[in-house]
């Protein structure tokens, strides 16, 4: 039975969009605390390679996911040491972390290339499995990371907007000096935010290697980290809007392949540009208002405390 285009795009959007969502949520937390991490691509790659390496050597994909999360967190802590402790320029350090991540992940993953793993098990609720328009598709047949994606987004939203800790993070992101003056420790808060962000970035990478492709290859994230950074802006640094953003971009990726599979007569290379053109259009159309929505202290280094 043929899946209608919309359903096919939705199915593809969820599969592609999950890792984008986790990456966007991670970057949102970091940026809410005032730190922009351009090295997100490197964090994703570290998560993907560590997750795959652990799964290939231990046989448990869940262990791989946990390791990927920890590795991502650790990598972001390293980045934190550079920009918070050593007060290095965030943009340059982020790019350095990206190259570091590319290289480190290649090193970690190299002995495991070609290993065949059992990826994350998928599960579909019984009542949905009987529906004809669901049965033959990938819809609702998801691994734990996809099922948890929206709950995690809600968790991040709750943490940032409904807890004292979240208030502290946002305060530091708006003005680290003011937060410091009110008795908070900006460095500690930024490290915590970076760790949380890194954990989510690691999960994003793990989903790619342990569920979507069941393999590891150098550079396999193919720019998703940068799309996630754009998505943070697209969603105005708000975790719940990030869900929509991830679906839109995951859908854009899936759309061009679904169109090809239906015989659309547009050049596949033009179709391939859709996600990136969409990013540019969104940033152009809503760039002004979004600039005002950014945390005021984003990218600034706070020198006052130690």
């Amino acid at each position: 039975m043929n899946t209608p285009l919309l359903l096919g795009v939705l199915a593809g959007a969820v599969l592609s969009g999950t890792s984008l969502l986790y990456a966007t949520l991670g970057e949102t937390i970091s940026e809410r605390s005032g730190i922009v991490n351009l090295g997100l691509e490197g964090i994703l790659l570290i998560g993907a390679s560590v997750g795959f390496a652990v799964t290939a050597s231990r046989g448990s994909a869940y262990l791989g996911v946990a390791s990927a999360a920890l590795a991502g967190g650790a990598a972001n802590l390293l980045f934190g040491w550079l920009v918070v402790s050593r007060k290095a320029n965030q943009l340059a350090s982020g790019l350095a972390m990206m190259f570091f991540g590319i290289g480190a992940s290649a090193l970690i993953g190299e002995p495991f290339v070609g290993a065949v793993i059992r990826g994350l098990p998928k599960w579909r609720p019984a009542f949905l499995a009987t529906l004809p328009w669901v049965k033959s598709t990938t819809l609702f047949n998801y691994d734990i990371l996809i099922w948890l994606a929206v709950p995690v987004a809600l968790l991040v939203w709750g943490a940032l907007f409904k807890t004292r800790w979240g208030l502290g993070v946002r305060a530091v992101g708006e003005s680290a000096a003011a937060a410091f003056a009110s008795g908070r420790n900006p460095s500690a808060i930024q490290f915590q935010a970076l760790f949380a962000g890194g954990v989510l970035g690691g999960l994003a990478g793990a989903h790619l290697s342990l569920s979507l492709t069941l393999t590891w290859a150098e550079g396999m994230t193919a720019g998703r980290g940068f799309i996630a950074i754009a998505l943070v802006i697209f969603s105005k640094w708000h975790p719940l809007r990030a869900i929509a953003g991830a679906l839109v971009f995951g859908g854009a990726e899936a759309l061009q392949l679904q169109l090809q599979a239906r015989g659309a007569e547009i050049s596949p290379f033009l179709l391939d540009m859709i996600p990136y053109v969409l990013t540019l259009l969104v940033l152009l159309a809503w760039g002004g208002a979004r600039r005002l929505a950014a945390p005021a202290g984003l990218g600034r280094t706070f020198y006052g405390s130690d």
Partner: protein, 360 residues
Amino acid sequence: MKKSLGLVVGLLVLVLSVALAPSVAADTPTLIIGAIYVGSVNDFGYNRSFHDALLTVQKNIPGVKLLEAENVPESAEAERVMESMIQQGARLIFPTSFGHQEPAFNVAKRHPDVYFEHAGGWMMAANFGNYFGNTQAAWYPMGVAAGRMTKTNKLGFVIGIPIGFAVGNVNAFELGARSVNPAAVTTVVVTGGWSDKAKEAAAANALLDQGCDVLAMHVDSPATVIQTAEARGAMSIGFQSIEARVLAPKGWITGLGFNWAPYFTEVAKSVIAGTFTPESTHLGLGQGMVVMAPFGAAVPSSVRQVVTAAADKIANGFNPFTGPIVDNTGVTQIKAGESWGGEKMGDFKWYVEGVVGKVQ
């Protein structure tokens, strides 16, 4: 004190050099071969096929030492890697990716005493030859297999970049499928690159969403497409390396792979004997370079017979690209009495009737 220390050290050096000398001399290899790969040799695909062949060469010719470098980009960086292999004594180099051609040619100009065999290119020099396997006609029996095994009559083909050779593979596949199943339709999805695993998974899913129950591919590694098909209960036909069959215990039908070992052995022997002559060698199914994979458990013997018969037909010279052949817009591309072969395999800018897709 100093004098006796010097005597002891001198004696030690003498003893050590005598002890070690025979083992150093015995280690001189017959030939040092260097190989550079664009990806990893563990890809169950393109790169693995070259690696496996070189291991066989080592078995065929005693004393061959192998230097390999994976993930060598198709840029000037490749020159650096090949130069370092030559520094280590390599006298025969296999640049295995198409994009390694120019860097290898540049290195060849600087080292006339080192020999090069490039996969898939056209450049030639006194110390530079090229070779590749003719895959297009070999896809015909693959199409026969898919046409007989499909239950939905929908076949899917994932390709990386729609170069003429890849389009030709798809065309032969569909021609083969139609020869046994006139209702078979092949849909093509292009990922835009030879090795993008996430896109390959998404492309495979898109084809499966459309009801395709057999997937084939022309990308560097067949692994992702095969695994995606296997996970969703579909069948697959492999490419590049016949080792990919371990990835689909249930859904594997058959596949094509490259067997470079006989050709590599011949070239290595010619370098050792000093009789290397540059040639452009293109061999297909039945001529030793392109081989058919074993059938999967799910393939019944009636299908195996038909497919093997088709493969034998190709090996004996049958050309599936014999006119009249109409493309999928109704235009006759190959007229009656004409047939396309050899160089024309890179010229396909159209898909045959029955293929859903357009060459851009």
